[in-house]
Structures are given as structure tokens and as C-alpha cells.
């Protein structure tokens, strides 16, 4: 495995994000230019005057990573150079703040691969709710308590938004399935036009679990049906990672502190049923079970 992200970065012990980035860079190779919006990734890998990156790397603002990457791609074309252009950003910039420039990049059809490592809240600034935060998860801006059971809204369906822009390659991946992730990144890079990959990346501080369990929790998200691994090529669903025996969502939820209130508070059982219904809807939509 080639190492294009050097050790010594300041990510938390047990963070899944460096693993995601290492796998993405391993698949993309050294001939790659990465643009990163503000995120945990930017903060932990580039504490001035150091950098963990072994490929050219640009930091843009929170909202314009896709626009900067579009410019990089145009400049490469203009000077007849060939390199993979990647955006690696968190869910805050992808789902909320950078949504406008993402939409522009998708719609103009730049040959840029957008990788979103999705840790389902603004972890860098202290676990605030984002558009990606799932239903009834505890965050500091949607706290669970007397009158609330956490985030009242379900997660934004970003792959569907990308598909609505007729993005030729849209996929979801997980840190727990590294072979699948690398294959998807390679396929995305070979795609003519924009591509979007959303990678599930558990966060130990925001989701509250023991550092060693990172990969196990990502695997449980897939095995319960809450994080289906699919691939759309030219708008057609082409591949789905099958789940042999879907596990109950409780297995996934009870392993994390952000769902602790669902097992203690009255009304929690009702919510668990709703979350199970979401998993079942995924299972039938993507035919996860043979």
C-alpha cells in the first residue's frame, strides 16, 4: 500500500478519516491534486508549518472547494497536463455550506472526483448538527433531554441530489470495506465528467464510542441497512453490496453514545421502530437481501 498521507497528523486516536484518505490516495496514485475545504481533515493534516500530504494539496474556503477544483481542472486542460483532480471534504462543506458550488461543479460537468467523508455532524467545531446528521442523533445543537430526542430531521439524501444533476458516477462506500472503496475511487477517476463518492466515516468524539471500535461501527451501519453500499453509473443502479442477514438497527445504535437516550427515555422505542423502518426501506429500495 503506497503511503501518500504521512503519519504525525493530529487526528484523534481511532479517527476513521485518515484511513479513508489513505485508501482514496492509494487508489488515486501520486499523480493527483487534492482540494480540501475547511474540515477536520484540513485542521489535523496541515498544522503550519507542517503538512501530512505527499501529493499537491490546496485548502479552499468552506464553501468553494468544488469551484476551486473546477478551476484546477480547467487550468490542467489549458496547459495540456494530465492529473486526477480530487476534492476530499467533510459532510458540513458537502451537504450544507458548499452545496452551491458543488451543484455548479456537477452541472458544468467538470472531470472532478468529489469524495465526502461523512461523519454526520460538524465535528471539527464541536459536534454541531449538519444536514447529514441522522434522525434522533444527539449533537450539541440538537441535544436530547426533557423535551427533545435529538435531531428532529432525517439525513439529507446527497447521492440523490448528485443524481438529479445527472452526475455520471455516484456511489456510497464505507471505511469498513477498503477493497470496495478503492475500486470505487478508481472507477470514479476513470469517469468522464464529475463523480461523487460518499464514505461513511465514524467519529469517536462525536458518536462517542471506544477508539478501537471505529471499523466495527462502520461495518454495522452497512450490515443493518442504514448505510447501503450502492453505485449508480449514468443514472442506473449498477451494483449493490448485498447483506446476507440484516442485523437489527439496535445493534448499531446501542454501540454509540449519540443514541444513548433512545434506550433510556420514554418515546425511544417508538423512534427505534422508525429508524428500523428507514433501514427496511433501504433494504427493499436497493434489494440488499437476495
Amino acid at each position: 500500500m503506497q503511503n501518500l498521507l504521512a503519519p504525525g497528523h493530529r487526528a484523534c486516536a481511532g479517527c476513521s478519516m485518515p484511513t479513508v484518505v489513505r485508501l482514496v490516495l492509494d487508489a488515486a496514485g501520486p499523480n493527483t491534486i487534492v482540494v480540501s475545504p475547511t474540515s477536520c481533515l484540513e485542521v489535523t493534516t496541515t498544522p503550519f508549518p507542517e503538512s501530512a500530504w505527499c501529493v499537491p494539496w490546496l485548502h479552499s474556503l468552506f464553501e468553494n472547494a468544488a469551484a476551486v477544483a473546477s478551476g484546477v481542472e480547467i487550468a490542467l486542460k489549458r496547459f495540456h497536463k494530465d492529473a486526477n483532480v480530487l476534492v476530499i471534504g467533510g459532510d458540513g462543506s458537502t451537504f450544507d455550506i458548499g452545496m452551491g458550488s458543488n451543484s455548479g461543479m456537477f452541472e458544468r460537468g467538470h472531470k472532478v472526483t468529489y469524495v465526502c467523508y461523512d461523519n454526520e455532524a460538524y465535528m471539527n467545531t464541536g459536534v454541531q448538527r449538519s444536514g447529514s446528521t441522522p434522525f434522533c442523533a444527539h449533537t450539541t445543537t440538537t441535544p436530547s433531554g426533557e423535551i427533545s430526542l435529538g435531531n428532529p430531521r432525517p439525513k439529507k439524501d446527497m447521492p440523490a441530489i448528485a443524481l438529479a444533476h445527472r452526475v455520471p458516477y455516484v456511489a456510497t462506500a464505507s471505511v469498513a470495506y477498503p477493497v470496495d472503496l478503492r475500486r470505487k475511487v478508481k472507477k470514479a477517476i476513470e469517469t468522464q465528467g464529475p463523480s461523487y463518492i460518499q464514505v461513511n466515516a465514524p467519529c469517536i468524539t462525536g458518536w462517542t464510542f471506544d477508539a478501537g471500535k471505529t471499523v466495527e461501527i462502520a461495518r454495522l451501519a452497512v450490515e443493518t441497512g442504514l448505510w447501503p453500499l450502492f453505485e449508480y453509473v449514468n443514472g442506473q443502479l449498477t451494483e449493490v453490496k448485498k447483506v446476507r442477514r440484516p442485523k437489527p438497527v439496535e445493534d448499531y445504535l446501542k454501540s454509540q453514545g449519540r443514541y444513548r437516550h433512545l434506550f433510556k427515555k420514554p418515546g425511544g422505542t417508538e423512534v427505534l421502530k422508525q429508524i428500523q423502518a428507514m433501514a427496511d426501506a433501504n433494504i427493499s429500495k436497493y434489494c440488499l437481501v437476495d
Binding site: 500500500m1 503519519p7 504525525g8 486516536a13 481511532g14 484511513t19 505527499c54 477508539a211 466495527e216
Partner: protein, 92 residues
């Protein structure tokens, strides 16, 4: 004409000067007899601190953990299919 002072630029991979191994409480130890060389620990390690090296005595390829950077998160212990990695409380 004033001479423009050269700005020091950030070297690629320069975070390596920071030895994050100092964060560690538990240290992983690999039992080489149990290891089946599946390389899952190398793939999952967030610190890129698991490497394939040549054993100085037998000459075989073995996995070794670079303790300069290992933060002791325990992902390798948790994911090892043969339970060949154990975390121990580190005495410094």
C-alpha cells in the same frame, strides 16, 4: 534593489517531525506466530504506522508497528481476524 527574502515552504509529509506516539496509553504488540499476514492492520491503521518489514533473523516479511507514531487507538487489535495483536498498558 531590495532582495526578496525566500519564504520557507511547507515540505510534503513534514508532519513526521511530530512524534504522535507520545499520545499513547496502550501499546499494541503483534504475536508473529499467530499472524497470517492478511495486512488488515496495515490497511486500517489511521496513522500509517504498521509496515511490512523483513525479519532480521529469518528474512521473512513480518508486520511491524512504528511506535513513534502509533496513538494506541486499538483498531488493529479489534480488527485482527486471528487476535494476534494485543494492547498492553505501556510503562514509560
Amino acid at each position: 534593489m531590495s532582495k526578496v527574502k525566500a519564504i520557507e515552504f511547507v515540505e510534503p509529509g513534514s508532519t513526521q517531525i511530530t512524534k504522535t506516539g507520545a499520545w499513547r496509553t496502550f501499546v499494541p504488540r503483534i504475536d508473529q506466530k499467530k499472524c497470517i499476514k492478511c495486512s488488515l492492520c496495515e490497511i486500517y491503521c489511521p496513522e500509517s504506522s504498521v509496515h511490512q518489514v523483513k525479519d532480521p533473523i529469518s528474512g521473512d516479511l513480518i508486520f511491524d508497528i512504528d511506535l513513534n507514531y502509533c496513538k494506541g487507538c486499538g483498531i488493529c487489535e479489534h480488527e485482527c481476524p486471528r487476535h494476534a495483536i494485543k494492547l498492553e498498558l505501556e510503562e514509560k
